[in-house]
């Protein structure tokens, strides 16, 4: 601690004084730290929950392929009832697959997903196998290439073949959750299930997909049939989503070509607006982020109130400390301490208090988050690195801001007046 660096001298001595003062007022310091801990725990936990929910949703869409362009005749979720204005648009057709493949030079593969209404004419889709049944099953038609395009991995079996699709074979590929619901832990391969009066043989089982809303990914509950089979059995599709995989590095071009080809296929005059929606995983995530940012701002803002209160606690303790040590400060200034040193001393004391609170708060938040993640299934509250870092930075800066006013009061003390203070 020699006087080698002037900066060190400016900091080292006040730091020692600060630690000293914390030691002499344990209860008071501990409570001030506790205030910051509560604030940081709230902020970091809220940020963790939000960040994880957001990442899960992002993963859900990214899992459908970041190089893919999706086309649907409506705006929005294919499982949601369309709004009145768009209800009149005609759906996309299975025959588009071949046309797009022929015309789109930047498009590597085209797949189609046909959504079968879960209830029609008072009949509801229920899948049965053995003694088990699922009435929450989602039935989708898939063209043979679809599984590859969306990167669905098979834990058992295989995708549909071109022949099965063309001939409308009664074969099925089941999602992971559906397989468990219908067949338990046994292998579903080669087993049969019935749906709307028909029997289907399971030829493949998909692995659990990643991401989801509140831990659920609806793809895991899907019963996939060949798109051709769906058309034979349920008629021309009302809701068909096209998945177009771009050739490497050509997603923009793929997007443009898809738009041009679809306009051509749907015979739109040059002035008409698109009567379909093209999107990419990134676009969907960006839209979703717009919403989650707003929710995030409100909740994090609420959480910040706790931190603000913690800061008020620090400021209060610092004021008390300055008042109590008026004589001491006066004496130090009288014997030659510079005002800057006094300022730094109190700032350091405040930063020290809130810094300890920050570290303790982050550790506590990590612990609670871990417990929550383990205890509540499908819920994740693991703090992301940025939340930890900003928690620590926030705590220290909150301390400095809260300590500035009291520290300045101390530094401005008139030594004569201060020494007269009893």
């Amino acid at each position: 601690m020699s006087a080698r660096s002037p900066w060190l001298r400016l900091v080292a001595e006040p730091a020692a004084l600060a630690v000293d003062s914390l030691r002499t007022h344990r209860a008071r310091s501990a409570l001030a730290i506790a205030g910051i801990v509560i604030g940081i725990v709230t902020v970091v936990l809220v940020a963790s929950v939000l960040a994880n929910a957001r990442n899960q949703v992002a993963l859900l869409f990214r899992d459908l392929g970041t190089e893919n362009v999706f086309a649907f005749h409506l705006t929005g979720d294919p499982y949601v009832t369309p709004n009145e204005k768009e209800a009149r648009r005609t759906p996309l057709k299975l025959s588009f697959i071949r046309d797009i493949q022929r015309l789109g030079t930047a498009i590597r593969d085209v797949g189609a997903q046909v959504i079968v209404p879960t209830a029609s004419n008072g009949q509801v889709l229920v899948a049965r196998a053995g003694g088990n049944e699922s009435d929450t099953v989602l039935v989708e038609g898939a063209s043979p290439a679809l599984f590859d395009i969306i990167g669905a991995e098979f834990s058992r079996g295989r995708p549909f073949t071109e022949l099965e699709d063309r001939e409308g074979a009664h074969v099925a590929v089941v999602g992971a959750s559906l397989a468990r619901a219908l067949f338990g832990s046994a292998s579903p391969l080669g087993q049969t299930l019935t749906l709307a009066g028909d029997t289907y043989t399971v030829v493949g089982e998909l692995q659990k997909r990643r991401g989801g809303f509140f831990g659920e990914n609806r793809q895991d509950n899907v019963l996939n049939l060949p798109a051709g089979t769906v058309r034979k059995r349920f008629g021309d599709p009302d809701r068909l989503v096209l998945y177009m995989r771009a050739k490497p590095g050509q997603r923009e071009e793929c997007f443009r070509q898809a738009e041009a080809i679809l306009r051509l296929l749907r015979k739109l005059p040059p002035t008409a607006e698109n009567d379909f929606t093209l999107s990419t995983a990134d676009q969907i995530i960006a839209t979703f982020d717009g919403l989650s940012v707003r929710i995030g701002l409100v909740t994090v803002g609420l959480a910040l109130v706790s931190l603000l209160i913690g800061a008020i606690g620090i400021a209060n303790v610092m004021f008390i400390s300055v008042t109590e040590r008026t004589r001491e400060i006066g004496l130090r200034i009288a014997v030659g301490a510079r005002r800057r040193q006094v300022l730094v001393q109190f700032l350091l004391e405040a930063a020290f208090l809130s810094g300890i609170g920050g570290v303790a708060g982050v550790v506590t938040a990590l612990g609670i988050g871990l417990l929550l993640t383990l205890a509540v299934s499908g819920f994740s509250a693991v703090a992301p690195a940025w939340a930890i870092v900003s928690g620590l930075v926030a705590s220290v800066s909150v301390g400095i801001v809260a300590g500035y006013w009291p520290a300045q009061q101390a530094a401005r003390l008139d030594p004569i007046e201060a020494l007269r203070h009893e």
Binding site: A32, E84, A87, R88, V124, L125, A303, S306, A315, I320
Partner: protein, 414 residues
């Protein structure tokens, strides 16, 4: 002197006031912390209440607040399977069912058989697509307030005759007759001509669905234009609002009797009450708002810690004073009450300031969000109670410490 002597409290409060006055900065910072916490709690609570209320009002607008609906089935919270069973098993509700209900009920329950479908409305070369066309009975206007701003509902006479008259929603007339008076104008619906006799005031939306796209016409006229609906919805209401529950039971029993359902047999129809649709709405708001209360509770805990700290410092600094007062006769109870009074005073005044701040924030926010938000009595009283209680919790430890002070040791303090 014990805790049961009333003067202890008066004196304690006076002492506390003096202590707070002599340290204005410290006390006001602690009060500020409590104010921030109370304001957060109050704003969150009011915001959640406001959301729930606006959702409830929207469903009441769509539904009528003390009416109920008898229908073949309600989608509700059923699984897909149970819903399918119901759709398959339950018989359709027909005009003759409604006539039967009407006859049995006499003038105790009002019923209005209603059929609904979407159709286009055409007038003067303009077309309004996908309006919601309702064929109903004149009683409907006594059951639900459809909010007729101008003109009149159709009459019982017109209902019986199936007269070609309609009451139209504001979105429909605004689109078809911009700048002109729609009242008395002809429109074409389902290939037939109708005359507008009433216009609804703007109703807004319920659950994202516009309520201003409605057309109300006599059910006989509806059937002439579109054919009879497979199954009817029956809107119903007790003639005496106090007897809503009774009317529901009456409808249930009448319908069971008509369908010869044995005691214990499941109903082959559904009665949808406002409570049922309301609980659905509340479930959604609860899920959305679940994060609010815990977060504001954390703020309150942080504020309690700050007030505890301030009171503790105050006790520590006045150790000698407390020692002297104890030595010359003050009881432990005096010291205890005085310290608690100090923390409560800080917390309570902070709470009041917080409420004032909350009221300001809310009046700004209600303009921005478009939902009327103002402090309600339960929230106000709850927040003040929370602030007072926080004061007691915060003061507990310092007060115990002050009361347990050893007189000799305290006097020895420099």
């Amino acid at each position: 002197m014990t805790l049961l002597t009333p003067t202890v409290y008066v004196e304690g409060f006076r002492e506390a006031l003096a202590t707070v006055r002599s340290n204005p900065l410290r006390a006001s910072l602690a009060g500020l912390a409590m104010a921030a916490a109370v304001a957060t709690t109050a704003v969150v609570q009011t915001g959640l209440n406001g959301l729930a209320r606006s959702a409830r009002e929207a469903s009441a607008r769509a539904f009528g607040s003390d009416s109920f609906v008898l229908a073949k089935f309600s989608a509700g919270n059923l699984s897909r399977r149970a819903l399918a069973d119901k759709i398959e098993r339950n018989p359709n509700i027909t005009r003759s069912d409604v006539r039967f209900l009407d006859n049995v009920a006499g003038d105790r329950v009002l019923y209005a058989a209603t059929a609904q479908r979407p159709a286009d409305v055409i007038a003067g070369g303009r077309k309004f697509e996908n309006a919601t066309i309702n064929g109903t009975q004149a009683a409907l206007f006594d059951i639900r307030d459809v909010g007729i701003a101008r003109g009149r509902p159709f009459s019982v006479r017109e209902e019986i005759d199936g007269a070609p008259v309609v009451v139209a929603g504001s979105a429909v007339v605004d689109a078809l007759f911009p700048g002109a008076d729609p009242l008395g104008q002809p429109v074409r619906i389902g290939g037939r001509g109708f005359r507008i006799v009433g216009i609804q005031a703007q109703q807004g939306t319920a659950g994202g669905v516009s309520l201003d796209r409605y057309i109300w016409m006599p059910i006989a006229a509806y059937e002439r234009a579109f054919g009879a609906a497979a199954s009817l919805q029956v809107f119903a209401k007790a003639t005496d609002v106090e007897r809503t529950r009774l009317a529901e039971d009456h409808a249930r029993v009448s319908m069971r009797a008509r369908r010869h359902l044995r005691p214990g047999a499941a109903e082959t129809f559904d009665i949808i009450t406002p409570e049922a649709s309301r609980s659905f709405v509340t479930a959604i708001t609860e899920r959305l708002g679940a994060a609010g209360p815990p977060i504001s509770l954390m703020a309150l805990i942080a504020a309690i810690v700050v007030v505890t700290n301030t009171t503790l410092v105050s006790v520590t600094q006045r150790m000698r004073e407390i020692g002297i007062r104890r030595a010359i006769g003050a009881a432990r109870a005096n010291v205890l009450v005085e310290t608690l009074a100090e923390s409560c005073l800080i917390a309570f005044v902070g709470g009041v300031a917080g409420l004032a701040a909350a009221a300001g924030v809310l009046s700004l926010a209600s303009g921005a969000v478009g939902i009327p938000l103002s402090l309600e009595w339960p929230t106000t009283i709850g927040s003040l109670a929370a602030a007072g209680l926080s004061g007691i919790v915060a003061g507990w430890y310092p007060a115990r410490r002050a009361a347990a002070l050893d007189v000799i040791n305290a006097l020895r303090q420099e």
